[in-house]
Symmetry: C2
Subunit: 366 residues, 2 copies
């Protein structure tokens, strides 16, 4: 496994060396984890002129539940103070003249502290270089996402078998999270969203004390974290024996939009074209206003990663990029529908997009 991390670090090194920096400082936790296997709280990764160092506030041994850092990576412990500042001091001590930092993550105050501890070190911008490396996943990473998706499918499936009427959104959300952990998740990938009746279909709805009622739409969005990797699934159901006509219509529309998005996933497709595929279906039904800013996004060590599937996004999909496709429509006062899958972009020759979240998308009446 160690090779994986060393390879990632050397790809990053090529990138910042080409940009003229001798060393780089990675501070964003998910990026540290990607390159070092772990990211103990407060730790940073220094890719120095001569060697790489994981700089931590306490020895990683003292937190055994966080896992072990890549064994090829020496650990430097600096108790007290900011590890980024300590790392800049180490880089300067090594004779580096320039250090690329994550300006999109480092605060102005920390940046200034770096300058003051190492005034001769020229600070450059690493930009989103690590985030870009993270976009295309290897099969090991995809396997973690696949297991996480199975766990989320299981948790959701069990919930559907239980009695729902009369239970609150908050209780259903807590129960789903308990089931995720029961089935081996590290924890939920993000706060589980359960929305009933007029709340249904809202993106990121925070569960309330509203109880499930007959005739409601019930929309659920959850995900499992497995070995650090986060997936996402969203489904909408109706409560009771048979859905109303407007519910069937709305469901069919969102389903058609979501399918159009899924079917557009292929290596080489522009991000914005996936978004457009989804949006066109909703537009044609006059649902433009209700549309969110994006219709999907990458997933991995964070639940919301590059790429963004949005009208102004620039770039094209590659193979082995996991993304969500998650359109929704919410009608104020009535409720709505969201359908959300995690899929991996695969070439046509490999069978096309791989669906990780396999819970049925039929409109179930529960």
């Amino acid at each position: 496994m160690s090779e994986v991390y060393a390879n990632r670090r050397s790809r990053l090194r090529e990138h910042f060396n080409a940009g003229g920096a001798a060393a780089a400082l990675v501070t964003r936790p998910a990026n540290v984890r990607y390159l070092a296997a772990v990211a103990p709280q407060g730790s940073v990764l220094l890719l120095g002129q001569r060697e790489d160092l994981l700089v931590c506030p306490v020895p990683p041994d003292d937190r055994p539940t966080e896992g072990r850092p890549d064994e090829a990576l020496p650990v430097h412990v600096t108790p007290g103070g900011d590890c980024a500042v300590a790392a800049a001091g180490l880089a300067a001590g090594e004779g580096a003249e320039s250090l690329a930092v994550e300006e999109h993550h480092l605060t102005v105050a920390r940046h200034r502290a770096l300058t003051s501890v190492a005034p001769r070190l020229r600070l450059a911008d690493l930009g989103a270089a690590v985030e870009q490396l993270r976009v295309v996943k290897d099969e090991e990473e995809i396997s973690c996402l696949r297991i996480g998706a199975e766990i989320a499918d299981q948790a959701l499936g069990e919930l559907l078998e239980s009695i729902l009427v009369g239970r609150t959104e908050r209780h259903l959300a807590l129960e789903l999270e308990r089931r995720l952990v029961d089935h081996g998740a590290d924890g939920p990938a993000f706060p589980t969203s359960v929305a009933t009746g007029p709340n249904s279909g809202r993106r990121g709805h925070r569960p309330t004390d509203r109880r499930v009622e007959e005739g409601d739409f019930l929309s659920v969005c959850l995900g499992a974290t497995y070995r650090g990797y986060r997936c996402e699934i969203g489904r909408t159901f109706v409560i009771g024996t048979s859905p109303a006509d407007w519910q069937v219509e709305l469901y069919d529309l969102v389903f058609a939009a979501q399918r159009a998005g899924r079917e557009s996933l292929a290596p080489g497709t522009a991000y914005r074209d996936v978004d457009r595929a989804v949006r066109q279906v909703l537009d044609s039904a006059g649902c433009t206003e209700a549309l969110p800013a994006l219709t999907g996004h990458g997933v991995g060590l964070e639940i919301d990663e590059d790429p963004q599937l949005a009208p102004a996004a620039v770039g094209k999909l590659d193979a082995c990029v996991p993304v969500t496709v998650e359109p929704g429509v919410h009608l104020p006062g009535r409720g709505g529908v969201r359908i959300d899958d995690t899929l991996v972009v695969r070439p046509e020759a490999d069978g096309g997009p791989e669906l990780l979240t396999i819970t049925t998308k039929e409109l179930l009446a529960l």
Copy 2:
């Protein structure tokens, strides 16, 4: 209620006006919430030359579960893009020449974006001005903390009445979190920590699949969020009929240290003197190595606020400052003890420190 927020904003305005800035931009979410009643995702607060504005990416009505902003505060919606950048543009448009920003929160990249949208605006540092305002709480805030502490006490009390042997740390933690919500919490104040046997006594231990065994120490740390305010309680128990001698000794030591800390809480006491009171007790028993960097901290809209009760902390306690006192000792391979209370500093004449977390600190054998 609106007056409360308007008063807070005018105190902040006095501060930055005295520092020479005409306007200020608050970006840290807990600070926005403190000054505006709510902090919808992505929102920022502009204290402009002429008027204050909550700048949001979507209308706050669209997220009813987040509550309503202070009604005296106009809302400006800027869909897409960074609200901080939009706010800087508004400040410049109003004719402000200088804008104080939270350099300890704003990233270098966002700071640069502000400069580029409003090149004539001189960006100054607001520093931790809002965090400093937040240190002393009003009775409304303390009342939220008190209710949160009652909820945490209830959740913990119920857990102690259940069978513990054979259950995993993860399940106990999830059950505690469910009980917090059952009793009316918004949610847990931080990830609930349950540590058994050799894990017990670790600060911030993440629950594992280890099961509770006879003879274990069991240490639990949890807290409730109530109307945004976060409290904290930690207790250690023994599992089985009677604790071993080393367990009693260690417990008595940590208890004595924690009591010393509690008893030192008074208006005018230096932060470091509270820390020293705790540390001296542990030192005298030769437990220095095991000591954490701090022995307590402020709580409020965030679980870890100013002040820090630590050896190098500068400042003195005021009345109405809620803090934790939470020493712990962990013996590698054997386990340990943590005892953690949330208290409000009160003058002697008002009865001295007010204990919010009232669960017994006797060593219970469960």
